[in-house]
Amino acid sequence: MTSPSDSLLAATFDERVDGFFAPISDVITTVVFFAVPLDFIDEGVELPIIVVWLVIAGLFFTIYLRGFQFRAFRHAIQLIRGRYDDPRDAGEVTHFQALATAVSGTVGLGNIAGVGVAITLGGPGATFWMIVAGLLGMCTKGVECTLGVKYRNVYPDGRVSGGPMYYLTKGLKEKSPRLGTFGKVLAVLFCIFTLGGAVGGGNMFQANQAFSQAQSVTGGADGPLGGGAAGAVFGLVLAVLVGAVIIGGIRSIARVTDKLVPFMAVFYVVACLTVLFSNAGQIPEAFASIVTEAFSPEAGYGGLVGVLIQGFRRAAFSNEAGLGSAAIAHSAVKTEHPATEGHVAVLEPFIDTVVICTMTALAIVITGTYLDDASDAGVQTTSAAFETVVSWFPVVLAIAVVLFAYSTMLAWSYYGLKAATYLFGESMLVDRTWKLVFCLFVVIGASSTLDAVIGFSDSMIFLMSLPNIIGLYILARVVKREINGYRDRVENGEILPVADRS
């Protein structure tokens, strides 16, 4: 039983967190999403520079490496299937495992909530640009991960880890000694932004949306999770579960989620397909509207540029291409050729954006839930789409959301840890402090309202792309040499599948 004064107190707690956060988030968001107003196209259309930054990187590398992401596909599948794995390396991290780890970190709320936001704000046409951004992002990921493996770090005790901080320092120094200091500055910046991104998009956004979905399937504001402090309590439970794994080292929980996440991902795709097939007649129409509205959207979506920005922005948030996080996740793979992981990494945005995001988008477009103002833009747009077909799907979606959110949080706590230990050194103090702060932000994230959280988490995650992509441009020639050299050796038979080796 809660007395009125209790719930009043509780209500003010959530509101206080929110009130504290909203102004900070506003400032950061305005800076990061500095946008050029394009009023000559349509009233209110703005072009955020950061989105242009990511897309140009994708375009540049796609042209520079002559469509590497499309050429890499076949070989990537062979690598995943272990065709090139030396049997003596059994017991080490395989290409499949590196990819699976990275995918479970990226497949998260960006795929469910982000797509809902994109289509609500940008119309069906946003889907088209999301797919285009996904295809470009594949190339950026391949570049990042090649570098991640090439310049990874082997600790004295044998552990292996890598990421932009290492290729920014080692890679730039190798390129020219004069770039050494610059590389260090970039690496430090990258790590600072990663800490922000880890508590933002990798944590608060996830906790927030998980709570929002849990609340809505349990009866909304009148249900058991409708009370004032419910957000904080939900966040506390989630924080304890995250803490149990990352601080308590209770591996069994992580192992259970590791097994559930792929299962849920498959289930999620099946649920989307169910929605599609029960509306099979409308599929051609939905496709048509996705393509035509990509170029000439209906009024209210900000014209071509407005739609394009929504699609690109949400795709980037979902697949993280260009942010550098993937380079951390992929680096532990056992390989002698950095380019192999570059090949495998192109599959990550493909699975994340081209397959899963597109599925979500089709379900939303076909059922038309994006037009409904009753549900908030986000998970609930997707949830409403699912509900039109099977009434209990939102419950399954809620479970999927919580699991995806959880696995993404675990992944980002690791990225954050790597950034923290790079900045402050390897020590138990740094390790524990970071993990405690991370858990604290789970609670804050769950109790904040969507706008404040989305703004903040977006902006911090996108900032990571500034130092990272500068580094990618400087090291472009190194990547080209690695990738082309490797492909030449595969083509002329110098590197053979295991089965053909004598």
């Binding site: 059994a90 780890t101 552990r159 880890s161 793979v333």
Partner: protein, 145 residues
């Protein structure tokens, strides 16, 4: 002509008896004895980023543990007589598949394993190394109770 007998060890009592039986046969037929311990591992399991980072270290630890706790005691015991050529191998992988691959590499006449002492329910649910070995192996398999 095959030149060895392969025996799979998992540290259980029955795998110890399997090693004895294989050693007897090796003496009688003048074959080498290859004792192998396979650390169960799958290239397709799902792992966390932190586990991946530690993987090279843990592989070493697992291999060392297998060698010291499972392999070495048996090799020491069997080589006391001094009339037998014994080789110990540690590998990571699917136990039955890896034993088959080792048998091919060492040109084994047959594979000897101990019967896993697990419950019927477990065997029904997850199978057992001897039974999958019988399905997979191109050469005879001797199962020692």
């Amino acid at each position: 002509m095959p030149d060895s007998i392969l025996v799979g060890l998992d540290g259980s009592e029955s795998s110890g008896r399997a090693a004895d039986a294989a050693a007897d046969a090796a003496r009688r037929h003048h074959l080498r004895l290859v004792v192998a311990c396979v650390v169960p591992w799958s290239p397709y399991s799902f792992t966390t980023a932190e586990e991946n980072e530690r993987r090279p270290v843990e592989k070493e630890q697992e291999a060392t543990a297998a060698r010291e706790r499972v392999l070495d005691p048996v090799v020491t015991r069997l080589s006391q007589a001094g009339d037998l050529a014994i080789e110990g191998v540690v590998r990571h992988g699917h136990p039955a598949e890896t034993l088959v691959r080792l048998a091919r590499e060492h040109d084994a006449a047959w594979i000897t394993v101990g019967r896993t002492g697990q419950s019927r329910v477990r065997t029904l649910l997850f199978g057992s190394t001897p039974s999958s070995l019988i399905q997979l192996s191109p050469i005879p398999v001797l199962v020692v109770p």
